[in-house]
Symmetry: C2
Subunit: 209 residues, 2 copies
Amino acid sequence: MKHFSDLSPTAERIVDIAERLIQQRGFNGFSYEDIAGEIGIRKPSIHHHFASKESLALTVAQRYTDRLKQKLLAIEESQSSSPAQLAGYVELFDETYTEERRMCTFGMLGAECGTLSESIRFEIGRFFAVNLAWLAEVFGRGRIAGELSFSVSDKDQALIFLSALEGAMVVGKGMETASCPKQVGQAMIASLSAAASNAVASQPLTGSD
Amino acid sequence: MKHFSDLSPTAERIVDIAERLIQQRGFNGFSYEDIAGEIGIRKPSIHHHFASKESLALTVAQRYTDRLKQKLLAIEESQSSSPAQLAGYVELFDETYTEERRMCTFGMLGAECGTLSESIRFEIGRFFAVNLAWLAEVFGRGRIAGELSFSVSDKDQALIFLSALEGAMVVGKGMETASCPKQVGQAMIASLSAAASNAVASQPLTGSD
DNA sequence: GTCTATATAAAGATAGAC
DNA sequence: GTCTATCTTTATATAGAC
């Protein structure tokens, strides 16, 4: 298919359910039968829409990244300050987690990537790269504007931020906590902002490359 | 069994292999056949040592936490400063990741916990609790000694630190990066230490509870 | 697009011999 | 402790009718 708007209503339902199952149980933790049972049709009907489980997961993955990009643009348009943009970003993780304690689709797939095909591994790398590039930009702007202060490169700060949110979902699920990504995200933003108010010279030690 | 030293040589090999498979492929990503093939015995022989896959995973989990506790004690004994203790802690994650790009056993199980039994979920919660308690102590001592500076509670800082390292393994695997947990860990320690050198007043905003 | 029927393989597990 | 044989269930997938 060219794009996700080309998906038939049933295909879209399948993708919706598969996405949720990947987030809650992992790629190796659900089957076509689970999806069929939920929709009320039979397994072969799922195969009619997605010949293989891998192609289904690939569609889930591509749509997820596509939607993320849209949400990042929406954050940039609605929020002008860097701390507010970060808060919007944290909210994306929190919404996902709060909704039936789902993991980030790519947090789950990243953990499982030792069992996944090359085409899906490619999508995993692409998703994280999109996140890191966007975060590094936000951290760069925030640092220059004096809204955020940190002593590592923009790229390292982006990696810390993304990792902490992905990890917060894992730790939160493992500890059966209600709001882990939000707690971690807000604490990090508080740290970065508090440092900016105190800081005399908030130059990064290692540049912004 | 009372303790892990009671494991027969074959049982121990089984646990070793199961641990590695959980870390690399997840609980739902391997089978008794994988273990049997690697050891050179048959599936029923694995069942002789561990009647169910779940009981095997439980032993893997309990041994993993047991060993972690020992390693934390070793770090406390060999390192006196808080930044050095954190560096030792980061090294634990880095060693695991560097060894064939393994995940933390509980990072993987935490992500998959929607498919796991109550007894394993209990172990997941226990593991993270042990980590958070140890880290919060280290952060508290480091803050009081003026070696570390951060503007959230000791507990929140511990949660950020653990989450970031767990997440770094996920992101690192997903991006096929060589050294993600080390990079994230060292960057965080640098941040916390650099802040301590600059800080005028490094009181936590929200107390140390 | 959906169904029944079926193929094929793998999974977790047990019985009982050696 | 290990084996062969077997059970039972599930998974992914295909063929072909409606």
